[in-house]
């Protein structure tokens, strides 16, 4: 039995996606845990040291990977269960952690519950993220984001449940933004900000079940605020040295806060498995008030001394109403019919009084307002019919209707220049598919979807599209072979403009766990994207129309993992992952005579963007005692952009740790 369990764990651990090299997925201690009193517990803790050595662009590494040096609790797992399900204070406690103490990605989750009286769930997360910004230095960001969610359910097994929850999301840290000053042709300048934004949410609700119906009501309050400070006190020549504009001082305050109270109600029913219905309704009223005060001083592009102050205040609101009804009919085990109707309305309103003072004299004053209302109605009918054990069909018809209403205006006196518009987009889509199971381990799925939209909002939106997909899988206890393909085509053309997008994906995956001590996992994917879009722009005050933006990406991704258990004492894993965008195959940025989408070289060079990203890794875990393992791992990262050598980096990372159980 023990061997069987160990084999099962080995098999399941073998076929995994390539994760960062730590923590170690192996386990220590008795798999069934230890009994103490009326409880059983299992535990394991992995403590170790991570190291890294970086060559090349360090900021790029920090943005992509970001593991650092130091000691940390790489992972832990603690479970406590009451043996009879009648614990005094609790029946289940499950605590898992990841990377606590020093990793840039930290995660902890806790579930504590008494079967009869309560259930408490906690998720806590921390992400340290560095965004290296634009190549010119703007929009650099180095922040920490904390997320936490608490949920309590009272009487979880009862017909009447009560729940309450609290969530908090905060982001703080330094950032570098840019400002463009004095006029639209002025220079742009970097300035620092200290980000400080928080969102909190409180929710309470209840659930009642009776006579085959369940009613769930949730009431919530979200509150968000930002008190980011901005400053720049040193003289800066600007990003473009040929420009005379300079910035000598900048002060900005931009506080805002707002709240979104919301209601959500769901009514669910399922009778005798042949009929199910689900109705829901939610309303959220979002409001925000803000003030903006900015003062800058410097010289304009003609070299004259300038000071400018901008004062803005106003409010924004966005009430959101959603409703939906779904019913499902299952007259027989072979046939299911569902219909889903959804209504969604959002009305965004905002206004602000804007006052601009140049050299202490009022230069511009206006009141601006905007309204953007979106109302959509969706009706989707889907049917599924299982004709026999080996073949089944499904199909559906979906209709969407979206109305967009817009009003916007700006005026210092009256509103004679208000622009009002309304438009409606109707989408008809049909989809169908067939499921085949010619033999028990083999399953085949083919599907097609065709859609037509009357008036999409954007040039890139779906207008005349179709999608084709297929997947075949062979699965036994020891072997999994799967191949899949999907092609998406969309054409959105109007008079004198065209947009065409084609994407084709192919993938193949295999995993084999034939031996208890050996498992192999490998796969390959190709993702092809080819888009052509009409663009218009100004070049040296001349309007260029009828030009094209062509983007071509050919991504190849492969991964291979081999896992070995040696003498039931040591586990060894070696993996390799590589992703490469070959672009259109060229090896230099601009090439004469190539297929080109634009008259401007500046546009042509960015339409294909080859790069490669490799990450081999190896990990060794040795069982020293029943309750102690020693682990060692190494992972290498290599990032290489073909046309921008300054972005290149290579990183050696690794760790050594002890995994123990008490």
């Amino acid at each position: 039995m023990k061997n069987k369990l160990a084999s099962m764990l080995l098999i399941t651990a073998g076929v995994v996606a390539q994760q960062p090299v730590a923590p170690t997925p192996e386990t220590v201690g008795r798999s069934r845990g230890e009994d103490v009193g009326g409880y059983n517990y299992t535990n394991q803790f992995e403590t170790g040291y991570r190291f890294r050595s970086i060559g090349g662009n360090f900021d790029r590494y920090r943005s992509d990977v970001n593991y650092g040096n130091g000691i940390r609790l790489l992972g832990s797992n603690l479970t406590v269960h009451s043996k009879e399900g009648h614990g005094k204070l609790f029946d289940e406690l499950v605590l898992t952690t990841l990377g606590l103490g020093n990793d840039p990605y930290q995660h902890a989750s806790l579930r504590l519950q008494h079967n009869k009286f309560y259930r408490y769930d906690l998720t806590w997360r921390l992400n340290e993220y560095l965004n290296p910004g634009l190549t010119s230095g703007g929009h650099w960001l180095n922040t920490r984001r904390h997320l936490q969610d608490h949920d309590v359910t009272l009487l979880p097994q009862s017909s009447f449940k009560f729940f309450a929850g609290y969530s908090r999301n905060s982001q703080d840290g330094p950032a570098l933004s840019t400002i463009q000053i004095f006029d639209s042709r002025g220079d742009e300048f970097p300035f620092f900000s200290n980000i400080d934004r928080t969102q909190t949410e409180y929710r309470v609700g209840g659930e009642a079940s009776a006579r085959g119906f369940k009613l769930i009501v949730l009431r919530g309050w979200q509150r968000y605020e930002e008190a980011t400070s901005y400053n720049r006190d040193q003289v800066h020549p600007g990003a473009n040295l040929t420009d005379n504009t300079t910035l000598t001082s900048l002060r900005r305050t931009e506080p805002y806060d707002g709240n979104t109270p919301f209601w959500r109600a769901n009514l669910l029913s399922e009778k005798k498995t042949w009929f199910a219905a689900n109705a829901r309704m939610s309303y959220a009223g979002g409001r925000r008030g803000y003030a903006f005060d900015e003062a800058v001083a410097g010289t304009d592009r003609f070299g004259s001394a300038r000071s400018r102050q901008i004062l803005v205040s106003g409010a924004g609101s966005r009430p959101v109403t959603s409703a939906g009804f779904t019913f499902s009919l299952t007259p027989s085990i072979r046939f299911t019919l569902t219909n889903h109707t959804a209504f969604h309305q959002v009305a965004m309103n905002g206004n602000g009084s804007y006052q601009e003072l140049i050299n202490s004299a009022a230069s511009f004053s206006a009141f601006r307002f905007q309204h953007l209302g979106i109302r959509s109605i969706v009706n989707a009918t889907d049917a599924s019919w299982r004709a026999s054990r080996w073949i089944g069909f499904y199909g559906g018809y979906h209709y969407s209707n979206r109305r967009v209403r817009s009003r916007e205006g700006e005026s210092g006196i009256g509103f004679s220049d208000v622009v009002t518009a309304e438009q409606t987009n109707r989408l008809h889509a049909g989809l169908g598919g067939v499921r085949l199971q010619p033999a028990r381990p083999v399953s085949i799925n083919l599907d097609v979807e065709v859609g037509r939209a009357s008036r999409p909002f954007f040039p890139l939106s779906e207008r005349r599209y179709h999608s084709l997909g297929g997947r075949i899988q062979y699965k036994t206890r020891t072997l999994l072979l799967a191949a899949a393909t999907r092609a998406n085509y969309n054409t959105n053309s109007v008079s004198l403009f065209t947009h065409s997008a084609r994407s084709r994906n192919y993938s193949f995956d295999a995993s084999w766990t034939g031996k208890g001590w050996l498992s192999v996992d490998a796969g390959y994917s190709k993702l092809h994207l080819d888009t052509l879009t009409g663009i218009a722009y100004f070049a040296s005050t001349r309007l260029v129309e009828g030009d094209e933006s062509i983007y071509l990406s050919n991504l190849h991704h492969g991964h291979l993992g081999v896992r070995m258990n040696i003498q039931k004492r040591a586990d060894f894993y070696a993996g390799y992952s590589r992703i490469k965008d070959t672009g259109d195959g060229r090896s230099v940025a601009a090439q004469v005579g190539e297929r080109t989408g634009s008259a401007l070289v500046a546009f042509r060079v960015v339409q294909t963007f080859p790069l490669s990203y490799d990450s081999p890794q190896a990990r060794l875990s040795i069982r020293l005692y029943d309750k102690i393992r020693w682990n060692l791992g190494y992972q290498y990262y290599r990032y290489k952009e073909e046309f921008l050598a300054s972005q290149f980096y290579r990183a050696h990372t690794g760790y050594t740790s002890v995994l123990w159980s008490f």
Partner: protein, 355 residues
Amino acid sequence: MKHKTLSVECQREARRFHLVKDAHWFLRIETANSFIVGIVAVFARCYKCFFWLLSMTWAGSLVQAQAPASSEGYVGSNACKTCHADVWLNFYKNAHYKSIAAGNQPPERTGCESCHGPAKGHVEARGGRTTIPRAFSLMNTARALDTCLTCHSKDLSRSEIRRSSHTQASVVCNNCHSIHKAQTPKLLLARKQNDLCYSCHTGVRAQFSMPFKHRVNEGFMSCTDCHNPHGAQSASWRMGRRPRMVQASADGEQPCLRCHTDKRGPFAFEHPAVRVDGCETCHSPHGSMNPRLLRRPVVFTVCLECHNGASNFGRQGDGIARQTASHNMADPKYQNCTTCHVRIHGSNSDRLFFR
């Protein structure tokens, strides 16, 4: 069926109640919930009744635990553990063990037989997979789904399961969940969540292997932070058709905004791209070879492919405004649009997103 006589004296009303009911009466008391009854009693300031009713609840549990199995072929989980000791030994850690521990569920909703059906025939045949009324390894997918939905159909997160893309593709509960060999204690998943999803969504695995990606492989977040694998309501953006299986936030908005709160607004001046067709207009949320998960390698092609003045599009239906003549795209200075239009997701103070 056992009959019991119970009595209680209410001091406030100075009355004594005599109740004669069978075991099912106790079950109803249990189902009606001691909490609600307790609240009523407390509000009535009748603490004796409150404690009596609580004891009644526990008594109901006892009666159920001692109640003989019905004659419909249910033999109770005790009969199963004799042969299936390996399953039973760890079953108290399983979420489904609550049905046994509660002691108040009818036989068809208790323990092994709640999922596998009445076991009398299986016991009499001394085992055999074909004698199990509901053996999941022999079931077709529709029946496996129905079996689980017997109890789980009215869970909020599964309310759209009948029309989900997974169900249509014959991916049902036991394709992802393993009741007896779960690798995750909380959701009884057969494997770690992202491994499970990657096993079919191989293209998505490739996306999360890209240099710019959300931190799923790193363990910071999981697929279900954004997706509902059991099926979701129609999206409130992008014509409600796509993305499918994406779970809107509690207030009906895109799940991206749950974390990226600074993009959320409401703003006085909204960028319609964010609200009408959603964040995916410009970003590839899983992963991208381009910085900031953008769909294009540099910013200005992202912007110009919409801001090209082509007729019919945009707020007024007369084309999305193209840039003004003050922009000279031949000058690199103008090729990073967001250097000046810094608040591109929406601004409180400028309709051109300058600040």
